[in-house]
């Protein structure tokens, strides 16, 4: 089981409280689709993803980014039981959506970069980064857990 220090819990919850899911979510997903363009294969139904501008202005991308980012709320509220909390979502991503689990890690990286750019080093300190990346890696692991 994952152990969290009090400082880590405080850092994660504190940072989550500052994050606007409607802002960071779309940014992170757009970045994923631009920087790692093979990710676009999962979003054929989203319409125009042909240029960076199209991706960043695409309302379906924005909406989905918000949905995905909002999903992190469950993890923040269940820090001591993330694996169980994401068991169904994991099965869905594997059996229904057929998402390569490597993409979870890559999206997590994009989320961290958006957070770093938005809040700067005075908020996203080295210690906060450590706690936040540990948190995201636990989420990524839980999402990959039900794959077979």
């Amino acid at each position: 089981m994952v152990e969290w220090t009090d400082a880590e819990r405080k850092a994660i919850i504190g940072l989550w409280g500052k994050i606007d899911v409607g802002e960071i979510g779309p940014q992170a997903l757009s970045r994923l689709l631009i920087v790692y363009p093979w990710g676009q294969r999962y979003f054929k139904a989203f319409g125009d993803l042909s240029t960076n501008a199209a991706i960043m202005g695409n309302p379906k991308v924005a909406q989905h980014g918000k949905t995905v980012m909002g999903g992190l709320e469950n993890a923040v509220k269940n820090l001591d039981n993330i694996k169980q909390t994401y068991a169904k979502l994991s099965a869905m991503h594997s059996e229904k959506l057929h998402v390569d689990p490597d993409n979870f890690r890559v999206l997590a990286e994009c989320i961290s970069l958006c957070v770093a750019a938005k809040f700067g080093p005075s908020v996203f300190t080295a210690e906060v980064q450590e706690a936040w990346q540990k948190f995201l890696s636990v989420v990524v692991s839980a999402l990959g857990r039900q794959y077979h």
Binding site: V35, A117, F124, A126, E130, Q133
Partner: protein, 147 residues
């Protein structure tokens, strides 16, 4: 061989020309040692690395961070020949320093976070893609001479 567009060359050049090496170098190395604490194993001669506070004020960490960042200047000046440019450094890291090459990626991730924090909204997806491509080529070159 790696291909760079004019736009990519320009983005990379801009990032470095506006960089305060004495600030960014130490910050990136500090983050690496804090966020990925096992990397501290390479710096046992650096003195107090006991907590984030100690690491962030440690003068040896700062000096080494600046040195490592200046090492990227070589790649910047030799974008079309990064592999050959880093051959000796790669051998050094493998045979003398015995650094696990996975750590190059960790440090490059921390450097990207520092640059993102510094550029803020100017750290666009295009800038991110270009900078990460540049660092990936450097990381690959540094690992090339390992055996």
């Amino acid at each position: 061989m790696v291909e760079w567009s004019e736009n990519e060359r320009s983005i990379i050049s801009n990032i470095f020309s506006n960089l305060d090496y004495n600030d960014v170098g130490p910050k990136a190395l500090v983050r690496c040692l804090v966020v990925y604490p096992w990397t501290q194993r390479y710096f046992s001669s650096f003195g107090n690395l006991y907590n984030a506070e100690a690491i962030s004020t440690n003068p040896k960490v700062a000096a080494h961070g600046i040195k490592v960042l200046h090492g990227l200047d070589r790649a910047l000046k030799n974008l079309d020949n990064i592999k050959a440019t880093y051959a000796e450094l790669s051998v050094l890291h493998s045979e003398k320093l015995h650094v696990d090459p996975d750590n190059f990626k960790l440090l490059s991730d921390c450097l990207t976070i520092v640059i993102a924090g510094k550029l803020g909204s100017a750290f666009t997806p295009e800038v991110q893609a270009t900078f990460q491509k540049f660092l990936a080529v450097v990381v690959s070159a540094l690992g090339k001479q390992y055996h």
